[in-house]
């Protein structure tokens, strides 16, 4: 833990690119929502709907991850724990005959509490110490659930197939559009919750904590408390994804509900799309789910999968070229076009930091 030095000194500015664009405007939100709503009508086949459902569900989880990892700067590699909390709680209660809506709703505060309980000791650790600790916690739970009786162990749990209705959250597998629109509804809910958190004081505070913890404390921010708050909401949002996922596939076992790969995929989605950017995780989720679907079809049966290879390459590529992810790359490509098209507006969207810094004090 030697002192940070010249080479190690991070420049947080590279994390999130141009400021002031982090939170979406109503216009952008409406546009994205409209596109998402139109998707299952434009692509009518069941496979496309399946992609959409998974992308939205994982988009929820990755958006939850992004709140803690991207905005608050606490990189968790153990978010499968909260996804699993949602999945297992929902599965357990639905197997008892509960309404899935109620079951999912109940799993959210549970995951929030769990996230806070994990964060309480772990947030004293910084950077990769924290990241490794999150892996450890999630892996311990994974091993316990796999081995201890009572939670289905390695075999997992199946959920009963019941009458198809919105109340039961079960629909026809021939026409998956209801599943899609419910997922979209849940995504909007999650996005709204995260947006509300980020918009005011809390949002400023967690970003300040990410940029510089000591400086944040020096302006009166209770660092630990706001990390816990971000973790709790992040956990709850991720649990929402887990709860809905289990209702969609009607099955959960340790690898599909709590696995390290799952934690990795949330992180990858956020990083690929644009970490610390509001729509980044959703974009990353769509890309990854799509790539996974295409490659699984292409290489099915051989046991070889090219998707991991592609994910890994994409992640490495993104982190060495543009840590802001696909959204940042898109913005970079779009900026000159926008400038040419709109003149003033494009210039405003991409301020020239060098120019402003040259103003003499």
């Amino acid at each position: 833990m030697s002192a940070p030095t010249v080479l190690r000194r991070p420049s947080p500015a590279r994390l999130s690119g141009p400021t002031g664009r982090r939170l979406p405007s109503w216009g952008t939100a409406a546009l994205i929502l409209a596109a998402l709503a139109a998707y299952p009508l434009v692509f009518a086949d069941s496979a496309a709907h399946n992609i959409g459902i998974l992308a939205l569900t994982f988009g929820i989880a990755a958006t939850g991850w992004n709140l803690l990892g991207g905005y608050a700067g606490q990189v968790s590699f153990g978010h499968a724990l909260y996804f699993g909390t949602g999945a297992y709680t929902t599965a357990a209660l639905v197997r008892q005959g509960w309404s899935p809506w109620l079951a999912i709703a109940l799993s959210l505060p549970l995951a929030a509490l769990l996230a806070a309980a994990v964060g309480w000791p772990c947030f004293r650790l910084r950077h990769h110490y924290y990241s490794i600790a999150t892996i450890a916690v999630a892996e311990i739970v994974f091993i316990l659930v796999t081995n201890l009786p009572g939670l289905g162990q390695a075999n997992g749990w199946e959920l009963p197939v019941v009458e198809q209705s919105l109340a039961n959250l079960q629909f026809s597998l021939l026409d998956k559009r209801p599943y899609y629109y419910v997922a979209l509804g849940f995504f909007c809910l999650a996005a709204l919750a995260v947006w509300l958190f980020l918009r005011g004081r809390a949002g400023n505070y967690v970003r300040a904590i990410r940029d510089d913890q000591e400086a944040a404390a020096a302006v009166g921010i209770d660092v630990h408390r706001y990390k816990l708050a971000a973790a709790a909401l992040s956990g709850a949002v991720t649990a929402l994804a887990g709860g809905y996922y289990v209702m969609y596939v009607l099955f959960v076992d340790p690898p599909s509900g709590l696995g390290l790969d799952l934690s990795v995929s949330f992180t990858l989605m956020a990083v690929l799309g644009g970490v610390g950017r509001f729509w980044g995780p959703l974009l990353g989720a769509w890309v990854l789910v799509f790539v996974q679907d295409v490659t699984r079809q292409e290489f099915s049966g051989s046991g070889r999968s090219v998707d991991l290879l592609l994910y890994g390459a994409l992640i490495v590529l993104v982190s060495i070229t543009e840590p802001g992810g696909l959204l940042a790359i898109g913005q970079r490509l779009w900026a000159p076009v926008a400038r040419r098209l709109g003149g003033g507006r494009g210039g405003k969207a991409a301020p020239e930091p060098a120019g402003s810094a040259e103003v003499k004090p």
Binding site: R201, N204, D211, V219
Partner: protein, 240 residues
């Protein structure tokens, strides 16, 4: 003296076998500009950190605004009215200057609109207008120091701790910074400032405390301190 804003009472801090500060006592009266000087490694920064809550004292007592604040966490000290800058300029790099100030202002104003208004007032005061919408990470050192002051000011402190905000500036920049410090002080904020070089703060401070090897060796008006043989020796011994 009664009614001191900050009372430092036999404060000590030890790292391993090394005393960074040993039995330091002095007071800062409301409305004053007090300078804290001393050669490199005299323990100025440690003392500062203790007052700001960033470093736990090994022994001794800190009283601020009539309350015992010894060992308080930094955010509590800030809430109580201790604002500080960092020598190595720790701005919130991914935020604009305005966002930096707004974040700090949120401590006293929970509504975004009020915090923004406070941020704009501070920006005006600290002369941050020209860079208000620039990302803080892209600022030059001089601007960052100014932002540090502005950000601390936005928390509406009673006591402002300035850690070498004048060093490393060009003469023009330093003159402007001194002017800002004076303005802040006229607005009713008490100031305790660390400087490495004596000449810079002599004309600015009402009173000066000199640290050497972690201990207070002199205290008085700038005039008195400058002619104190102990101080002269401490500085000359260090070849300054």
């Amino acid at each position: 003296m009664t009614g001191a804003l900050l009372r430092i009472d036999n404060l000590s801090c030890r790292f391993g076998g090394l005393w960074a500060n040993r039995d330091v006592s002095f007071e800062v009266e409301p409305g004053a500009i007090v300078g804290l000087i001393g050669p490199n490694g005299a323990g100025k920064s440690t003392l500062f950190s203790m007052v700001a809550g960033a470093q736990r004292p090994t022994s001794g007592r800190l009283e601020f605004d009539g309350r015992d604040v010894t060992g308080w966490a930094p955010h509590r000290a800030a809430r109580a009215g201790v604002g500080r800058t960092f020598q190595l300029m720790r701005v919130f790099g991914s935020m604009t200057v305005r966002e930096n100030l707004t974040t700090a202002a949120f401590g006293r104003h929970s509504r975004l609109r009020d915090a923004r208004r406070r941020a704009d007032e501070v920006a005006e005061l600290a002369g941050l207008g020209p860079v208000l919408d620039s990302p803080a990470a892209s600022l030059t050192a001089a601007w960052k120091k100014r932002l540090e002051m502005g950000r601390a000011l936005a928390t509406e402190p009673k006591l402002l701790l300035l850690d070498e905000v004048l060093s490393g500036l060009t003469p023009t920049e330093a003159r402007e910074a001194v002017e800002i410090v004076r303005t802040i002080n006229r607005g009713g904020v008490t100031i305790l400032m660390v400087e490495h070089v004596m000449e810079v703060i002599m004309p600015l401070c009402h009173r000066v405390v000199v640290l050497h090897y972690g201990q207070k060796i002199s205290e008085g008006t700038p005039e008195q301190v400058a002619h104190d043989p102990t101080v002269v020796e401490a500085y000359l011994g260090k070849a300054l």
